[in-house]
Amino acid sequence: MVRLITHNLLACHVKGCTSNNFPLIFQDVQIELQEAEFNPDFVTHILPRLEWGALVDAAKQVGDTSLPPERPEMMDDDLLRQLHHVLMEIHVVEGAMICPNCKHSYPISNGIPNMLLAEHEIG
């Protein structure tokens, strides 16, 4: 399952592709929603390790426009719940992730991203 929390931590790793290689762009995705246990502490603490702008864009690409474009300074319970939903409950089950720089395509099948590289692409 490629959730948006995982997507936010993946960058293109093709040899030589070191700038503008994040975030990967979703293409032709199929989405499934799966309820997950809400842990407000986890969401609060994980946020500093994520990129807000990349999360907002990724959410839009999968049809969720609920997040504000800038990260709010104060997190209320509603926003934490919304973040929980976006990060943990939206599952990309089929499709691909495309590098914005080198256009390498990483397929997603049965919820699992295949990010293996061919020998000439390995850094």
């Binding site: 490629v2 790793h13 290689n21 994040f22 997950a36 049965n110 699992i112 990010m115 293996l116």
Partner: protein
């Protein structure tokens, strides 16, 4: 006593292509890693670990076990493996044990390395540690099948060494790294290298004789105060 994850959903064919924790006797390495984690369970629970990364997750048994220690909603469980079939088994084991495991098919920490800089709170690695010749290990990694889970090349360290260079970059300030190693892998040398390259202290958490080998679980941390 933390229960061993339920693997009854894996078929014999899955085990043949991925890795059967009970089938590789005398290399009962998975169970030793579970025992090592269980020994540290109280410390682990206290540390508010957020991001967990298992390299070469195979059946997903170890990450599912870690999830049962830390709590399914308290951390993010990332699992990589070069074997597509292992990723499928990892996902299924997560589902079976109600721990949301996030498999990614890739080599070592590949596409996660740049975004997870100084961010990973716990790394688990049960590497291919059996000494073989270089070509055998290299071929096993290329075809990404079952032999990739054990064929380790010179001193059984060829794959492990490629990852050790990354550990210092990945670990958060209070992060810890658990590694399975054989005596033949030259454990003093591994520990010295991690100390001198990344200032990571280490301890042997647990060790066990398995046939002619002695298996060890090593734990690396940035400072002694964390342990």
């Amino acid at each position: 006593m933390i229960p061993t994850p339920d693997l009854s959903h894996l078929s014999d064919d899955d085990k043949l292509h991925v890795y059967d924790p009970a089938g590789k006797l005398p290399y009962c390495d998975t169970f030793l890693l579970l025992d090592g984690l269980e020994k540290d369970a109280e410390q682990l629970k206290k540390q508010n670990l957020l991001i967990c990364l298992e390299i070469g997750s195979g059946s997903g048994c170890v990450s599912a076990f870690l999830g049962s220690i830390l709590g399914s909603a308290n951390a993010l469980y990332l699992c990589t493996d070069i074997n597509t079939r292992a990723s499928i088994c990892t996902a299924a084991t997560g589902k079976q044990n109600k721990i949301p495991l996030n498999p990614i098919t890739c080599d070592l920490s590949g596409p996660l390395s740049s975004r997870l800089r100084h961010s990973v709170d716990i790394i688990l690695f049960n590497p291919p540690y059996v000494p073989t010749d270089h070509d055998e290990a290299s071929y096993a990694q290329d075809i990404a099948g079952i032999a990739g889970s054990w064929a380790g090349g010179a001193d059984g360290m060829e794959v492990t060494n490629r990852f050790l260079d990354n550990v210092g970059n990945l670990l958060s300030d209070h992060g810890r790294f658990y590694l399975v190693a054989l005596a033949q892998n030259n454990i003093p040398q591994i520990r010295q290298k991690m100390q001198s390259s990344f200032n990571l202290n280490s301890e042997v958490v647990i060790q066990r004789r398995a046939g002619r080998e002695t298996l060890h679980i090593l734990r690396f941390c940035r400072s002694v105060g964390n342990v």
